[in-house]
Symmetry: C2
Subunit: 581 residues, 2 copies
């Protein structure tokens, strides 16, 4: 099957049978938005529920739910008002606007990631990149911030934004969440929710969306105690990875290594990140996407988000779009907590008492407010808070050696000199340590996973579509058909339908068209089992159950149906073994 063909077939199926389609079709459609139809909604909900089961319930983590909208200070703190940008260029002729790096990639096959505006402009000119619509010349690129902006309440100065990730709802709640974790590290907090990203010119259907659902987990741990106590469960698991170390050597094929090797080689820097990468691999596998079609690629320093220390993307091979990121595994260090602490003034540090007090010599650094206000104006308070979060030795040693300390944070560098602080050397007895936890974050794109699941389930048999979805995520679980629409068969079939509904199954009743056509309708939406009520049913109260994949049939007593289906769906008993129960 040709590559393009498969993707087009998925789109056709998705539209025709109600998995998804472009939003606002009757108004000409709106790029970057999709609607999930009845089957797509059920599939997406089941994938979400499976994720919550794996990453929350089974791990004993927390799940929270915070708003899409936030006051601007939240995203000033997180850095999104500054860094959440993409380069945009405008056509001088027709005025259309485009992602500058994407045009460079499409027309000149040059990666634009991490290039400065000047570099982009240079390469665009050098390679004669032009407007894809009218071939016009392009203006020098600028940065376009992709936060959706609005106003909260009736005062026009109260700017708010739609969240581009759910994570900030977790970080800004850290204080309360730590209390709910009963003041103990480590712990994980997950969130599943709608996010919005004002993409400049999304043109990739369900792959690049302006509104999407993200499932993410923030795992908080003590940086001085970074060991993962579950590593033993996964250390021999294999991962296909393409780390920075190999990328800079010019390699472009992933290597298969065990988790233990990946950590030993320094490919993966955090044990917890490795643990969640294995979970991610298995989770995606459980959706029907084989391990050999997935790999993890490290982001180069120039490609990483502003908060990240190390990031791996989990990529899945797709027919039209190549290797596409379905999850990201970022080591966010303490960036976010630090910034929320600096912006809010709330102390977000945790306190862990030592077993016995420690006598230490340390520097007491006292910021001089007046000096900060003189140097940093409106930002003085935040810079003072940043100073308070800087390790005293690092600060004082630099001041002594260089006469200044270059404080990084918030995207800027603030030069602190001996005029800004009073330093005193003291001996103190410390009873514990106060610090900001570190964070690793596995973050999944639910829409892409849903699409990828469909693509991997897609198959053809005798020129018909059979969607081989794993049985525990199929939108419809069982279909019920009367063989004919007479002789009391429909009434009996409705009885069976009601019985199964009562037992909690998702059931579709269908009596229109030939039985073969009805089986085919169910095969192409992935319904694993179809029950037919025929003339024998009226005699002995048995029905046939047909298997989507093998097209084999077995006969079962109606009284045993609920139990049989339970074995199949809950206990994962094979179809062939159902007949033997």
């Amino acid at each position: 099957m040709a590559k393009m063909e498969k993707c087009q077939k998925i789109m056709e199926l998705a539209k025709r049978r109600g998995f998804f389609w472009q939003s606002y079709e009757i108004y000409g459609g709106e790029s970057g938005f999709i609607d999930y139809g009845p089957l797509g909604t059920l599939l997406k909900r089941k994938i979400e529920q499976k994720w919550v089961d794996e990453f929350v319930r089974k791990e004993g983590f927390m799940l929270i739910d915070t708003p899409v909208l936030a006051p601007s200070i939240v995203f000033e703190a997180s850095g999104h008002t500054t860094y959440f940008t993409d380069p945009i260029t405008t056509c001088k002729k027709c005025g259309r606007k485009w992602r500058a790096d994407h045009l460079l990639e499409e027309q000149a096959k040059i990666s634009g990631e991490g290039l400065s505006l000047e570099e982009l402009d240079k390469k665009i000119k050098e390679n004669n990149v032009h407007c894809p619509e009218c071939k016009g010349e392009l203006e020098p690129p600028k940065f376009f911030n992709e936060l959706f902006k609005t106003t909260i309440g009736p005062y026009s100065e109260n700017i708010g934004y739609g969240r581009p990730e759910t994570a900030q709802g977790i970080f800004s709640n850290f204080k309360r969440l730590y209390e709910l974790a009963r003041n103990k590290l480590p712990f994980g907090v997950a969130q599943v929710g709608r996010c919005v990203r004002n993409e400049i010119s999304p043109r990739q259907g369900p792959i690049r969306l302006r509104e999407l659902t993200i499932m993410e987990l923030e795992f908080f741990f003590d940086p001085e105690n970074p060991r993962c106590d579950k590593l033993v469960e996964v250390k021999n698991e294999k991962l296909r990875i393409l780390p920075e170390k190999l990328l800079v050597e010019g390699k472009d094929k992933p290597v298969e290594v065990t988790v233990e090797e990946a950590l030993k080689e320094g490919y993966i820097k955090s044990e917890w990140n490795a643990y969640f990468m294995v979970k991610a691999k298995k989770f995606v596998e459980s959706l029907g996407i084989p391990a050999e079609k997935q790999f993890f690629k490290e982001k180069l320093p120039t490609e990483r988000a502003h908060y990240s220390t190390q990031t791996y993307d989990q990529l899945v091979e797709l027919s039209c779009w190549g290797a596409v990121e379905v999850s990201g595994h970022a080591w966010r260090s303490n960036y976010d907590l630090k910034m929320h602490m600096v912006y809010s003034g709330e102390d977000l540090r945790v306190y862990i008492p030592y077993n016995e007090p420690k006598k230490i010599r340390k520097f007491l650094v006292k910021p001089i407010k007046k000096a900060f206000v003189e140097s940093f104006g409106d930002e003085a308070l935040r810079v003072m808070r940043l100073v308070n979060l800087t390790p005293e030795n690092e600060l004082v040693n630099s001041l002594k050696k260089n006469g200044h300390y270059d404080l990084k944070g918030d995207g800027k560098t603030y030069r602190i000199t001996l005029n800004h602080v009073e330093v005193e050397e003291v001996y103190v007895e410390e009873k514990g340590k106060r610090f900001l936890p570190n964070v690793v974050e596995p973050s999944f794109g639910l829409d892409r996973l849903t699409y990828a699941t469909l693509e991997y389930a897609y198959s053809e048999k005798d020129n018909r579509i059979v969607l081989r979805l794993p049985r525990n995520i199929t939108p419809i679980e069982v279909a019920v058909f009367p063989l004919m629409t007479k002789d009391g068969l429909p009434e009996k079939a409705v009885e069976v339908y009601r019985l199964l509904i009562k037992h909690g199954f998702t059931v579709e009743y269908d009596e229109s068209g030939s039985i073969g056509r009805r089986y085919a309708r169910m095969d192409e939406v992935g319904t694993p089992l179809a029950i037919t009520i025929d003339y024998q049913t009226l005699e002995d109260n048995t029905v046939t159950i047909r298997d989507r994949d093998s097209w084999k049939q077995i006969r079962v007593k109606i009284d045993n149906l609920p139990k049989t289906l339970e074995k199949y769906f809950k206990e994962n008993v094979g179809f062939d073994d159902l007949g033997k129960l």
Copy 2:
């Protein structure tokens, strides 16, 4: 227990144990937004799942999922850019802004619903209503549109809005959904999703939110065939209702009537609305809110939304806020479909063939485009489409009699005269009818339901909180405790914890504090069962299970635990009977 006290206790519990709290606390909090903590999120998700089970799976309806953001034309069509407003007034002294009608209600005990701006202004002045903050005088009220506004993409003219209801995602998709329903009426389409409403000054915690989750169902039917085929199942059910008929007589207490009586008396105009009202009553009951604490109140014509023909609100008595609306039951006629048809130009009508063709005399009405453009300018095309949707007889008779026809739609009245149309009387053979379906809509506020559920579950026993949540919606299903943290008890308890996790239960493990304290911690978050591993466990592999409500205990073999819990949670077996299994 004093009324205020109970509500405050809920708020305290919600915050302390992680049900919910005000969003963005570290930045001073943002009115109208709440965060759900771990327990609140699980509770809310279970209520949502229960609703989907009742209103989608069991009914065989569709569930779809569309974006929060929409291009402006969607809400121009739906009327929200015009009608989704509330009266706002500004304090002349301090500049603060307030809901004018709310101030009138609070300070003068006069309902401001449905009053014009002039009437509001008059009553505000007459009753000396003033700024609640600074006592300043108030400016005359204006209308404030409560849609959240943004820009989609990089072009500033592409206005978008956040949806204030999920319904428009269903209406604007009607064409595709009707196909998915295999071109048959009636059918239902549901959606659960985040909505945003830019309330002027929300001050009621979880009750009035700027961001909320709505669960709604749009049920489409043929207006010439409005009978509900499920009425027979509910006609003897009792509803407590307060219809317009009684309200205008000055009555303010609901009456209890059967569904049959309510329809016969004309209290409820649509059978389908009555059917869904019964479902709503039972659904809310299943959350632990007794029928006698609920009633349905009809909205007066001045209070109804712009699209509604008849609306009932389902109200629940709450301790701090009185009777609060948890669902609305609107008969939306064909308003929305008509408007999307007029704005998009897509024919959204359905076609139903007659059994045999009908010969009829009818008027052919042909709009004269030039005349429409002259009279209505930019709106000409939409007005012409409205004309096409007007029953020909109605239009022509009025033209003949009065020389004009006043076409209502889109919030305005357009006067059509004989200059606008050519009319021809023809005899035609019609093979079927083409029409816009009618809609009834039950729409639930998930956040309010979650709060109400907590309030009705709240109880105290021996000066401790016991949250008597129905067992199928509790955030945590089972707790597992080792009696002591020594002698191998914790290891055994962890084994039991893992066994139950493996069997799909939501389990909390806790070993800190006295056993009594641990039971109490679970009682106050509604965990129905607590399992304790004690010294006898080590001897005979049995554990105790303790009941949240009676505090009774039974002993069960560990091997039988999964089955026992399944009986309790899935088959609803009583706690006392669990011991006898």
